[in-house]
């Protein structure tokens, strides 16, 4: 291409000895053109972030450049001395990071953090810097710029912080913007806003964007070209439309297949007796109260009533902070509700004393969001799984035998029992979590974002497993997620929550195809790549 701004040639990054592989990135070559959005996709650990860091000259100490060049403005940025590299950073190449919560200095005002970019490159006077910062804050669409400029990061929401990060990256109108998963941590609506902002800015400033993601929905939304990486190597590249429509490489195809399609199956209406009944549940969090300070109140659950039939899967969706987790945890009494009733198989959970509760607990189990945090790192898998049944009075030997059996059921093999959590991958751990829930022989499982932390391909495996288990064991499932596409895949009915209230509940096809509540509609509109999936999926009949 004629207006190439960046050309990577045979880039190789070495990992220290003892790492899981020799190279973080191996023999990578690609170009980036002016005004273009290049999406880099691939599984976790495939080397996406390392590539970006190499370009910025911000590689972690352990990772070294093994070879190759990165030509920018006629020079190899990899070979530049540190001082000149620093001059490039921020000025010619800007970068946005994934985690908006931690990527800003918590002790510095937003305005100062933006002005600092000018200061770093010795530009403008302090007053001018401030004026520019104000303009930038306005440009990225932050409300009330005068206030924001004096605000500290903790006073901003995740989306607002990400906008502030973008403002910083844009400050010197760099020729290249590298965005490393800038929306992964955000909920759908915010994600959509940020993607729009990046697209808009790209047009206005004509900069090249290297956008790192593992979400093909996002790729479909904004990419001009795509690079697919795996184990540090580029397996496929080409225009976005081409790669999405007709993937050449096997790996790409597998990645794409793993994405839950938007086809909404018309579920069988379930009419059995309720496994779970929730009536007028309320929960308000009060925090920060005490000496003279007004307590902050959050209505996490506000008069919610719903039922789940035996063998039914109910999806619970809603944006971050809408009260989904609180509801799920209230059902298992990890959270004590303020009022309302929770009936599991007709028995009121709230009325139980400590002992009765311990016994009743086996009927409702939970699969947690974070497969790392939900297993005791110092206990063997066998203990983690069998501990519950043993506490419920099952003989130890029986419980352990059952545990091994269940590990087979979730597809891990009985010998997994004698290993520690850190010896498993994320997906495997999530299966262990499911096995642990099953070990208690529950009537109802609550899955709180059980697949959100997983790679798409692994996500698909776990969803398959859940579907299979429901069919075989007749389990009821409360499936909490913020990913509407996943919800569509698995659930019989969908409940939508907003600010603690249940705004809509109904069969999955009705809710997705004819959303009655405006909030549900806006959620659906925000799903990235909706149009692509709409057009490209084979099962288009019932698509959103």
């Amino acid at each position: 291409m004629s207006d190439t701004v960046l050309r990577i040639e045979n880039l190789t990054l070495d990992l220290p000895s003892g790492a899981d592989r020799a190279h973080a990135v191996h023999d990578l070559s690609f170009t980036l053109a002016r005004g273009e959005v290049l999406c880099v996709v691939g599984e976790s650990g495939s080397g996406k972030s390392m590539t970006a860091s190499a370009l910025m000259g911000l590689l972690p100490g352990a990772v070294t450049i093994g070879g190759g060049r990165a030509i920018f403005g006629g020079r190899d940025v990899l070979a530049l001395p540190e001082a000149e590299r620093r001059a490039l950073r921020g000025a010619k190449i800007g970068m946005i990071f994934q985690e908006p919560m931690t990527a800003l200095n918590p002790l510095m005002r937003i305005g100062d953090q933006i002005s600092e970019v000018f200061e770093a490159h010795g530009l403008l006077t302090p007053t001018e810097r401030r004026a520019r910062a104000l303009a930038l804050i306005e440009e990225v669409g932050l409300p009330d710029p005068k206030k924001i400029i004096r605000a500290y990061p903790f006073q901003l929401s995740g989306g607002q912080r990400q906008r502030a990060m973008i403002a910083m990256a844009l400050a010197l109108e760099p020729e290249i913007l590298i965005a490393d998963e800038p929306t992964t941590a955000l909920d759908v609506t915010t994600q959509a806003q940020i993607l729009d902002l990046i697209a808009e800015i790209r047009q206005r400033h004509g900069m090249a964007v290297m956008f790192i993601t593992h979400d093909f929905g996002v790729v479909a939304e904004i990419a001009d070209r795509v690079i697919v990486m795996r184990h540090g190597e580029m397996v496929e590249t080409g225009p976005a439309a081409e790669v999405l429509a007709a993937p050449k490489h096997d790996y790409t195809r597998r990645l794409l297949d793993a994405i839950p399609s938007n086809a909404v199956p018309r579920p069988d209406r379930v009419t059995a007796a309720p496994a779970l009944e929730i009536r007028n549940l309320r929960k308000t969090y009060r925090t920060g109260g005490g000496w003279g300070r007004a307590a902050r109140e959050v209505r996490a659950i506000d008069d919610v009533s719903l039922t789940i039939a035996k063998g039914e899967v109910l999806g619970l969706v809603g944006e971050s902070g809408s009260g989904k987790s609180t509801l799920g945890r209230a059902v298992v009494r990890l959270v004590d509700p303020d009022s309302g009733r929770i009936l599991v198989g007709g028995e009121d959970m709230a009325a139980l004393d400590a002992n009765a509760l311990r016994r009743a607990r086996r009927r409702v189990q939970m699969v947690f969001q974070d497969p790392y945090a939900s297993l005791n790192p110092r206990a063997r898998i066998l203990r983690s799984i069998s501990e519950g049944p043993v506490a419920q009075g099952v003989a130890k030997r029986d419980a352990e035998a059952r545990a091994r059996e269940l590990l087979e059921v979730v597809g891990l093999g009985a010998d997994a029992a004698d290993r520690y959590p850190h010896e498993f991958s994320g997906g495997q751990r999530q299966r262990i979590g499911i096995a642990r829930a099953l070990a208690m022989d529950p009537d109802l499982i609550i899955a709180d974002e059980a697949v959100s932390a997983l790679d798409v391909s692994i996500q698909a495996q776990v969803l398959d497993l859940l579907r299979d288990l429901r069919a075989r064991l007749g389990l009821s499932l409360l499936f909490i997620t913020h990913d509407l596409r996943v919800a569509a895949q698995l659930c019989d009915r969908i409940a939508v929550m907003q600010k603690g209230r249940l705004v809509e509940i109904g069969p999955v096809d009705e809710v997705f195809l004819n959303p009655r509540d405006p909030y549900t509609r806006s959620l659906l509109d925000a799903v990235p790549g909706a149009s692509w999936a709409d057009g490209g999926s084979p099962a288009r009949a019932e698509a959103i």
């Binding site: 000025a91 990071f97 990527a103 200095n105 918590p106 600092e116 970019v117 000496w291 007004a294």
Partner: protein
Amino acid sequence: MAIATTVLGRLIKAAITLLAIVVLNFLLIHAAPGDPAAVMAGEAGAADEIFIAQLRERFGLDQPLYVQLWNYVGNIIQFDLGYSYRQGAPVFDLIMERLPATLLLTLTAFGISLLFGVAMGVAASARVGRAGDSVITGIALLFYATPLYWAALMAVLVFSVWLGWLPGFGYETVGGGFTGLSRALDILKHLILPATTLGLFFMAVYTRMTRASMLEVAQMDFVKTARAKGLPDRVIRRRHILRNALLPVVTLAGLQAGQLVGGAVLTETVFAWPGIGRLMFESLQARDYNTLLGVFLISAAMVILFNIVTDLVYRLIDPRIGATR
């Protein structure tokens, strides 16, 4: 506003804590063998039962313990620390006579240790893994491990006896007749040795803590952001890493500053520094109950005061604290 009410709240809690301390210490101290009358009788080189009975009566020791406790607590509530019969002066006056010297010594030591400790910690973290780091860490470890009194004895020996550069003890030149600035200079000269020796240990603590904290903060995401802006390392270290790394150091320092005020017994002893640490030790040995309790109370109050100050400082550094989110 919010700060004022928090401070008020803290003060009320503090008052309760202090009262509890008074009661506990009262009981502790009275559990010790011997009493002030016995000590004074012992010192007199001669005593008969009349003499000791007189003393006991004068000290109120002839009354049952609970009455003594009741009277003492009653006095404390009225901010009266009582009277030292041994020294023939109100306890409050005795303490106030000594407190300035202690504050001067400990705060100087504290300032020195914090300043140099943080500086060394920063320097070490900037050279992590290289020779400079090892040297600084090594020195810090050595300071940490050297018994304070041993360092003090050595310092006196070298700087005062052998080299004759600095006075080895005392608070100022006795009868020197200095006033104004020359007096300040004189005190400063006397201050150098004790403050430095006392500061060494804490300096080591802060060095190590700052270094660890700097390294930890350096791993954080926002540091990467700062580097992506193209800021020079120096600025990143000062503006981004140091400020965040200081938070745990400030917490610890606050705790220790308070402790120091009541606790420089060894330094004050070796350097003949007329502070309340020594007053405490001497009162303990003489079973001068009221003075001892007074010192405990005042130094506990100092600890609380410093904790409150630390909190305020913390608020200055960290905007997140105390804000309603």
